[in-house]
Point group: C2
Chain length 306, copies 2
DNA sequence: AGAGTTCTTTGACTAAAGTCAAAGGATGAG
DNA sequence: CTCATCCTTTGACTTTAGTCAAAGAACTCT
């Protein structure tokens, strides 16, 4: 369950109907085309597997494929062997770990995938072909917008323990990210301690997209009634979706639920987009509430009753 | 093959890639949800069949279902019987044609479909739930735009014989349509004769969406070098897609290919949208070139070299 | 070094999806 | 009235997709 979902807020049934209408139309009419032509003389499962293998340069392990495609180990083993006997892939033992098998496409396998792609491209081009350039531009733009918003909708922002592996992984990525960004670098020892953002002391949120952690945000207590937001970060692949805003909202809701009246945060001079985002989210700049090497701007937001 | 496709006009590969990217994302992530939850304790094929049966008020024939779902006759027969023994559908002999079977949902069948719909709605609502109202509005708008353009792209405009059943069916629908629209009604004997719009005399185009005729347009020769466009019509379910414009373009291309230098047409005073469309398509109003009960405005377009 | 865990392979299944052809009743065109 | 055609049913398959459990090799932790 997502922590920032507010179930009281009703989704108009017209919007639900619109999504389902589009879903039906698209999966039945357009999406089906791709799959249907994908595996011409090959079972769909096998075609998908080959596609996945060829799409990963440098080879993939069976383990990785199993996770990505959600297949049974036995089933996958057999399909891979079938592809091998057909000369589509090469199976070798992983040099690091002799339990693992590394799968690579052969030239023949790569060729087949290229051919598949060519066919699918031709199909897509044939569809777009009847539209005028202006209509095509509009279609591409509409699809980009829809995809962006659907991705955002499919991301959940969950409350996790500050010591959880996902939380630490996000903080490590965050630290590496800003270390590269700040002229003076960043010292990871300045990250919040797990106990500061767990249990009654604070909170830690991780954003998940398809099971992968793609963002985080922390809340700790500065003084009674005052929360501090730290380490709001979004993975590069999930940027420009509006996710930081969602994480911020989850942190604010959590702060309000914990009885904080205001939340504060500081930010580095170089993070101008972040500052704009905070302003747009209702934060106003305040004098320094804490001295800090990396901070140059301080913000505060009064939490209204919700 | 569509008659109005101009293969010389290249579709940018970036647009092809965008469509395929969206396609992949949507079918794998969003579309899959629906199907997965559709048949909870029932094979997918059976669930889809029941859905299709319940979605057609007044019952469907097996024949119709076979065509719509593209199923093997034997396979369909067995599945229908399975649904019958489960009490989901009622099978009866068609009163018109004793070879046909008419399938109707029972109350239990209808209930199950309603329940399925409820679940799918809840799923869709759950997805939209995390978005703000503004984001939801934008998503719905983007999906509507994409669907509109994809539908238009999937429609082909084909040259057919003026006497073909589809051509006649379109003209009948056209006649009924304007008969209801014109204050003075419309006399079907004023429709073009098949031989006027076939072979060397003229041309007839029918627009097809998923195999169904959803629009038409005729071209006949007025005098050497001058073509006349008649009966441009779009089925109510395919309006507001920009299809009339496509049909018009196909007619103009055909006229140019036949060596006409200009095309003319007349239109009724009450069809103001049509008049706006003609103007936007480069037609200019001219004096009456022929006297006609239903005509109040006359247009002409000079065909450039293409 | 031993115990527990991880990863792959193999055998033994099952259910779903779909194909093909024969057969029989019903219809329609001539 | 007859013959070709249409629609459905039935029998007899095949392929695809997927599951479960046992077993063995390799790794990790202590």
């Amino acid at each position: 369950m997502s922590a920032d979902q507010v179930p009281s807020e009703q989704v108009p049934s017209e919007q639900v109907a619109a999504l389902r209408r589009f879903n039906r139309y698209f999966t039945r009419r357009i999406g089906a085309l791709d799959d249907h032509y994908l595996g011409q003389d090959r079972p769909l499962g096998e075609a998908r597997l080959l596609f996945e293998i060829a799409g990963t340069p440098g080879g993939v392990s069976l383990r990785e494929l199993r996770g990505r495609l959600g297949l049974d180990a036995g089933y996958l083993s057999r399909m891979t062997k079938a592809l091998q006997t057909q000369g589509m892939v090469r199976i070798s033992v992983d040099p690091q770990d002799n339990r693992l098998r590394t799968i690579e496409p052969t030239d023949a396998g790569r060729l087949e995938v290229t051919e598949q792609n060519r066919r699918a491209d031709a199909l897509a081009a044939g569809l777009l072909d009847t539209l005028t350039p202006v209509q095509r531009d509009r279609l591409v733009e509409a699809m980009a917008t829809a995809q962006r918003l659907l991705r955002l909708a499919a991301i959940t922002v969950d409350l996790v323990d500050g010591a959880a592996p996902d939380a630490r992984a996000c903080l490590d990525a965050y630290a590496a990210d800003i270390d590269a960004r700040f002229p003076e670098g960043f010292d990871p020892s300045d990250l919040v301690r797990p106990q500061e953002v767990s249990g009654t002391a604070g909170a830690f949120f991780v954003a998940y997209e398809e099971g992968r952690a793609v963002g985080c945000g922390a809340l700790r207590t500065l003084e009674p009634g005052v929360g501090e937001i730290k380490h709001v970060w979004v993975h590069p692949r999930a940027r420009r979706l509006g996710l930081a805003r969602r994480i911020l909202a989850a942190l604010e809701d959590e702060a309000a639920a914990r009885g904080h009246r205001v939340v504060r945060l500081d930010t580095h001079a170089s993070l101008t987009e972040a500052q704009a985002m905070y302003r747009a989210a209702g934060y106003r700049e305040i004098p320094a509430y804490v001295d800090h090497v990396y901070a140059s701007h301080w913000f505060e937001k009064r939490l209204g009753p919700r």
